[in-house]
Subunit: 301 residues, 2 copies
């Protein structure tokens, strides 16, 4: 998995910072997560081939998380994109996009599917053979979801030496990979773990922005490999965080610790602070593995 | 008058070019003309104090001319703007903005007035003591207006020597400035032109984007000081220009020549061309005073 941060600052785009948007590369997918104003330019700057984006996940309908969507969809139109495009987001996203296309008398040459979300419980929004995406219901001023992106457990790996030793034919490989035992021609049963290795441990990434401190998300993001949790404020502004339904760096770290995730990425910083290093310092008191998101940086895990 | 080009390229924003937006400073007003995606960042880059913008003119509802508007209005909200804001644009602009504010559960702390345009004839959309703004109906794929920004003729200037010579009292100055004659205490009539100079000649600026070649605009923009006329294409793509209802550089120059304007600014270039110099070369064959718009440049006149 590779996560590229296109923008990770709160509120308004500025000359040096961008509102929320991320690209997650996972099992041949390029998922776009949120799409603040200027996202298409950030995609270009980061040399991400955005024709590969087929699924866009929008957390909520505050502008700094979706004002760039209509522009990106229009650019796909100008580029004469043909591939289906899926947008997952709160109820309303379809209205907003279609109204603008209607007034500009535009029709996308590609099929545009909206998957509007209303549930307050976690639900599966995307699934294929290798990946599953679930919502993480968040508590914010308006209806908001984070998203949990999880690789599925892959096939067991063949042990080439054992396969050769028992002279197992190729036609049995799929059965063995999916965990089946083998009976040899003389009737001997070879249990699966004698001829295979464990598959690579599947990875998971949880995106949680924007949200107040909320322990209800812990069972959903539990033990994930990488957690992006918003930290709009420092603990010195904890009252403001509560009032605006955002989190502090300390609170993000508490969620990371209680969820026993492997690593925490902080982001969605208010632009009131001179340096984002204070966010890391504050979080590290609670949780050891803290990374700082910044526009244009990427993380592989 | 000072015109700053924030963006002057067609279609999609890129790392090095921006979609249409301009700021016109005229008689203490800072008018924003069109507002493509990224306009608020361009305003910051060009160090324009955007709290001074009270009037925004939108030519048409193609994305490259207004996708930045909702972001700018939201930023005004976050900055707790209190001053009234007026948006002039095609019917639909109000729907589009209010729908997005509604879904984000946002309310502007400032009064937001929409002046929706439907007329196919030129009409006055703004007027105060010193400035008048009229629409320039353009022919494009959807309902589109250019805008003519004209200074009003100012007061006549007092001739200090003559005023002193005739010993005219201050209380008569307003009457004299507005063109009135004076009768001295001995009954002598002093005609206005003996005690005043002509006022400075008022200037005008015509913004015409997007449009096919259309001579109907000539009477409206006639003899204006500065004309911005779109030139999406070069004459080699004249068929494409007609099909997409855009203009070539040659056509823009023909409009400038027939309207006997003083200067022509070209812009709204398609990004298919390597250099914009070819636009100037093509236009100068028809019309001598050609300037090239480019993002971040400004013109004083």
């Amino acid at each position: 998995m590779k996560l590229t941060i296109l923008g990770c600052y709160a509120a308004t785009p500025r000359t040096i910072t961008n509102p929320t948007s991320q690209v997650l590369e996972i099992k041949n997918h390029m998922f776009l997560i949120d799409c603040g104003e200027g996202t298409q330019v950030q995609l270009r700057k980061n040399k991400l081939k955005f024709s590969k984006i087929n699924h866009i996940f929008i957390s909520h309908l505050h502008g700094d998380h979706f004002y760039g969507l209509i522009g990106l969809l229009s650019t796909f139109m100008l580029l004469n994109r043909q591939t289906d495009l899926h947008v997952y987001g709160p109820k309303g996203i379809k209205d907003i996009i279609l109204l603008q296309l209607r007034y500009s008398n535009s029709f996308t040459p590609y099929k545009l599917y909206f998957h509007e979300l209303r549930s307050k419980e976690s639900e599966v929004v995307f699934e294929d053979k290798k990946v599953i995406v679930k919502t993480i219901p968040l508590k914010h001023r308006i209806y908001t979801n984070g998203f949990l992106f999880a690789e599925k457990k892959g096939d067991r790996k063949l042990n080439p030496k054992a396969i050769e030793f028992y002279e197992i034919e190729k036609c049995y490989y799929p059965k063995i990979k999916s965990g089946g035992d083998i009976v040899l021609s003389d009737g001997t049963l070879i249990p699966n773990d004698k001829i295979t290795f464990d598959p690579i441990q599947p990875k998971s990434y949880a995106f949680c922005s924007d949200t107040v401190y909320d322990e209800k998300i812990i069972p959903i993001i539990n033990e994930c490999d990488m957690l992006y949790h918003e930290s709009t404020f420092l603990e010195s502004e904890v009252d403001l965080a509560e009032r605006t339904m955002h989190s502090t760096a300390k609170q993000a770290a508490m969620i990371a610790a209680k969820s026993r995730v492997k690593q925490l990425i902080l982001g969605h910083y208010s632009t009131r602070y001179d340096s984002i290093l204070s966010f890391k310092n504050e979080a590290e008191i609670i949780f050891p593995n803290v990374l700082l998101a910044d526009d244009g940086c990427s993380f592989e895990f």
